[in-house]
């Protein structure tokens, strides 16, 4: 308690005043740390990339010369066109399939919904190379189902689209499931009360309610396809697309300036998609009121049975492709000697790094998960609750959503250009684990950030005010209340960062050093060297790690809940 002075006024102990000022300083300091991470890992590299697109090989100003060379080189333009139509084709296939799959999960009484939900998520855990390798097994030159392609080669657009469908399906299905799950049952009751038929209800209530979800899903799929590198690398054959062009310009031709130009071109659809998606998100949020009554479907055989058959089909394709890759990885010599062996897992025979690259990946993903989660969650909390962030806060809020618009390949290229610049003292980081971790955290920042923000916003906005009135510093309340309450979301963020860092190829392919080659890059190298079985084996090994991480999360979920979520029980 403050003491009373002789003149009747009351003085707060000086120590308490200092403590208050110290807290504010600590909180602001936290934001500056994030600001510098995002500056070094996002803003400065992208700025360098931008500048390099306007320079010649010797660093002189070249104006629009590089761009001129780009539009007058037919192969480069063709690649851009290819990327667009491949992405459009994949979107046209994946979005309707994802819609009906999600519809079956959320709007029907189809049995085994939990199982279908799990199967739907499996492709997220696998590197995008895995379906491509499985398709090579099935439809490649020695493929057992090659005849089904009627003489067309799988190496090219057909293979790319098939593999992309597998890779993009869960992303679209998750978005659609969320969009379809958050509906208001009262619309359906009103439509029924007005005697609308089933078809009319579907056309006038269900589809309009999901339209922004459809836009989001289409945008996400389109961007994933345009920016993905692994699939066209493995199964694209001689078919050029934007992503492989960047790689070819930089790694093959060592033409960094043209690489930067292609990178900027690659950035265009991604930024357009990002803006479109934000627009759709805003519209979608506006259509939902806080008092919506959740929709509970009633069983109806004529709807449930066809949906079950449909989902079984989709799920078996997803599981089948994984199964083929796993099976192929233990086959002695495809397709001539189908006896089983573990020889393909003796990676040292195919690649100098051997099993070490998997260890590098695990260390990289583990560090990205731990450091990234701490950084991202603390930043989200500081922005939402910690202090009055002011202008720095608005800048950070915007910067945190930016990585979603930057394809991994562009970010990776921007990293080399920035860190390899002779004048950059941070150049020593090049090729180290540190740069891989930094790159991964920045690359996957946005989704993790949004997860954290959503979790924090669900808490009572007066927690910090209440703790201030009780003279408890805000960071202590964060530790005692916010973190325990958000623990499920925090684990989600950590696993998300871990899984994505394990499976990503595009960003890290430019950044690894002799001792830090990640497993996903090893897959690409072994495939390039014609060792498809070893590549599949490594991809399966990655899947094994990510699957274990996910299972560990599910396994500990109950433990975590018992420890920190006891208060939820009434």
């Amino acid at each position: 308690m403050p003491e009373t002075r002789p003149d009747g006024t009351v003085a707060l102990p000086a120590a308490a005043q200092q403590r208050v000022a110290g807290d504010a300083l600590l909180l602001r300091g936290g934001l500056w740390i994030t600001a510098s991470v995002l500056a070094i890992g996002l803003v400065l590299p992208l700025a360098t990339l931008f500048v390099r697109a306007f320079e010649d090989r010797d660093g002189g100003f070249a104006g629009l010369e590089n761009f001129g060379r780009y539009v007058t080189t037919p192969t480069l333009l063709a690649a851009a066109g290819n990327s667009l139509w491949i992405a459009a084709a994949t979107t046209a296939i994946v979005v309707p399939v994802a819609f009906f799959y999600a519809y079956a999960l959320t709007r029907s009484c189809m049995p085994m919904q939990a199982l279908f939900r799990t199967v739907m998520l499996i492709p997220v855990l696998a590197p995008s190379l895995l379906p491509a390798l499985a398709l090579v097994y099935l439809f490649g030159n020695q493929g057992m189902l090659k005849g089904l392609l009627l003489g067309h080669s799988v190496y090219g657009p057909i293979g790319i689209v098939m593999a992309q469908c597998f890779y993009c399906f869960p992303h679209a299905a998750i978005i659609m499931a969320v969009a379809l799950a958050t509906t208001d049952a009262r619309f359906y009751e009103a439509a029924e009360a007005l005697r609308a038929g089933r078809g009319r209800i579907f056309a006038t209530v269900t589809l309009p309610g999901a339209r922004y979800g459809l836009v989001s899903a289409a945008v996400v799929v389109f961007t994933l396809v345009v920016t993905d590198f692994g699939i066209p690398k493995v199964i694209g054959g001689q078919f050029p697309v934007l992503a492989t062009d960047v790689y070819k310009q930089v790694v093959g031709l060592q033409d960094f300036n043209m690489g930067a130009v292609v990178g900027l071109v690659l950035l265009l659809p991604a930024i357009g998609a990002y803006l479109l998606d934000r627009w759709a998100q805003g519209k979608r949020a506006a259509t939902l009121s806080g008092r919506a009554v959740p929709y509970a479907p009633r069983p109806r055989r004529q709807r449930d049975l066809p949906l079950l058959v449909f989902c079984l089909g989709v799920a078996s394709v997803l599981a089948g492709l994984l199964g083929v890759a796993a099976w192929g990885s233990v086959i002695r010599f495809w397709p001539y000697n189908l006896s089983l062996t573990l020889d393909n897992y003796d990676f040292a025979r195919f690649d100098a790094a051997g099993w070490d690259s998997l260890l590098v990946s695990v260390r990289m993903a583990g560090l990205a998960a731990i450091l990234g989660t701490v950084l991202i969650f603390c930043t989200a909390w500081l922005l939402e609750r910690g202090t009055r962030p002011g202008r720095l806060g608005s800048i950070l809020r915007f910067a945190a959503t930016l990585p979603l618009a930057v394809p991994g390949l562009v970010l990776g290229l921007a990293f080399i250009l920035f860190f390899n610049h002779p004048a950059n003292p941070l150049g020593v980081l090049y090729g180290t684990l540190a740069i891989l971790v930094l790159n991964s955290v920045v690359h996957f920042y946005t989704v993790a950030h949004l997860t954290a923000v959503t979790a924090i916003r669900q808490l009572d906005p007066e927690f910090e005010a209440a703790s201030a009135s009780l003279k408890v510093p805000a960071w202590l309340t964060c530790w005692r209340v916010t973190v325990p309450m958000c623990l499920p979301a925090i684990l989600d963020i950590a696993v998300y960062l871990f899984v994505n860092t394990m499976t990503t190829v595009s960003a890290v392919i430019f950044l690894y050093g002799p001792d830090t080659k990640p497993a996903s890059v090893a897959v690409v190298h072994m495939d390039e060297a014609g060792q498809a079985s070893a590549a599949a084996a490594m991809a399966v090994a990655i899947l094994g790690v990510t699957l274990s991480a996910k299972l560990l999360q599910l396994g500990t979920a109950r433990l975590v809940e018992r420890a920190t979520q006891r208060w939820r029980r009434r």
Binding site: G8, V10, L12, D460, A468, S469, L470, V472, M485, W567
Partner: protein
């Protein structure tokens, strides 16, 4: 309640803008030690903003706030001396009742045994002794409210701030808890400010009420003064129920004329106003006396019953006094039956001149 001693809390010309909106516009008031003051007003009137400025949660843009002689205007909330109960209670859901109450009892001043005994004292004070190990979600709304109150009082703050503390509760619990809060406040003698939009609540428990509108103070006074002697049309219309119409001051002392039909009513408040002044008139339903036609006094006028509403202890009658004028009258159901006050009935009405509220209308 206010005595000659220096006031405990002084708010001087405090202003606060959110963008271009003036949430507080030069607000000044004082609160005596041990006083219970309510901030009352419609939503958006600035009452919560003023409370948060006093707490330091949303500091004022200009002006000065003094608490116990100390200038606290620029201090962070943690450096001030107050406890607060939020509308949502902001109880920490993952901590038990005891942990919530003990949350602010930390540091060397609060060794474990002292902490435990203080918590025991507080749970007893609010009557939650058997619930100390429960989590907030396992308690009823009223019990959660008491936990929030105990937590706010734990550190023996000099000032207790209540931000719509009862609005999340149902009617019966509200009534009970507001009496409990008042009793507790009087027992502890803690200076208390409560924000509310419920006038019955404000009038019922406060020593003084601060009525606010558009970021300014409309009136400060004891509950009875606010109700019986509103300072302006806003307070007259906001606090309590009333029928209102426009009238003009007549030549004769204290007589008002309304409408083209020459309808007149006597009002003490109109004495001394120049002839022809345009005024707003407010008449409260409980001030209208009804009699059978022809049985009323000199100032009575004929009315027709338009509508009647049964409210339990009273009936509320809607009366037509002339073609465009409506009054309301409250009277016990038995008396209404005795008068035959059914829709369509013709009666005589009378309003005591000292009860008619009159304000000069602008222009």
């Amino acid at each position: 309640m206010a005595s000659g001693a220096a006031p405990y809390l002084v708010v001087e010309e405090v202003s606060k803008a959110f963008g271009t909106v003036m949430a507080l516009d030069g607000v000044s008031l004082t609160v005596a030690a041990g006083e219970f003051v309510s901030f009352l007003g419609p939503s958006g009137c600035g009452k919560t903003t003023l409370l948060r400025a006093i707490a330091g949660l949303d500091p004022a843009n200009s002006g000065r706030i003094l608490q116990a002689g100390r200038d606290i205007t620029a201090l962070a909330p943690a450096a001030r001396d107050f406890g607060i109960v939020f509308q949502s209670y902001a109880l920490f859901p993952n901590l038990t009742v005891a942990e919530n109450i003990a949350y602010g009892l930390r540091g060397p001043a609060w060794p474990k045994p002292r902490r435990a005994s203080r918590v025991a004292e507080l749970v007893e004070l609010v009557g939650l002794t058997e619930h100390v190990r429960k989590f907030p979600a396992q308690l009823s709304g009223g019990q959660q409210q008491r936990v929030a109150l105990a937590r706010a009082l734990a550190n023996e703050p000099g000032l207790l701030l209540l931000d719509e503390p009862l609005s999340a509760l149902d009617a019966i619990v509200r009534l009970h808890l507001r009496q409990e809060i008042r009793t507790l406040q009087q027992r502890l003698g803690v200076t208390t400010i409560m924000v509310t939009h419920d006038q019955e609540e404000a009038l019922g428990v406060s020593d003084r009420v601060v009525v606010m509108n558009h970021g300014r103070i409309a009136q400060i006074g004891r509950p009875e003064d606010i109700y019986r002697r509103p300072a302006n049309p806003f307070v007259a219309g906001f606090v309590g129920r009333s029928a209102t119409f426009i009238a003009w001051v007549e030549a004769a002392e204290g007589l008002l004329q309304a409408g083209q039909d020459g309808w007149r009513i006597a009002a003490d408040a109109a004495r001394g106003m120049p002839r022809g002044t345009r005024v707003e008139v407010f008449i409260r339903p409980e001030d209208v006396r009804l009699t059978r036609p022809g049985e009323g006094g000199a100032g009575s006028f004929p009315v027709t019953v338009r509508h009647w509403e049964f409210l339990g202890p009273v009936c509320r009658l809607t009366l037509a006094a002339g073609p465009q004028r409506q009054l309301e009258a409250d009277l016990p159901p038995d008396a209404a039956h005795a008068l035959g006050a059914m829709p369509g009935a013709a009666l005589a009405a009378e309003v005591p001149p000292e009860r008619v509220l009159v304000f000069a209308a602008d222009a």
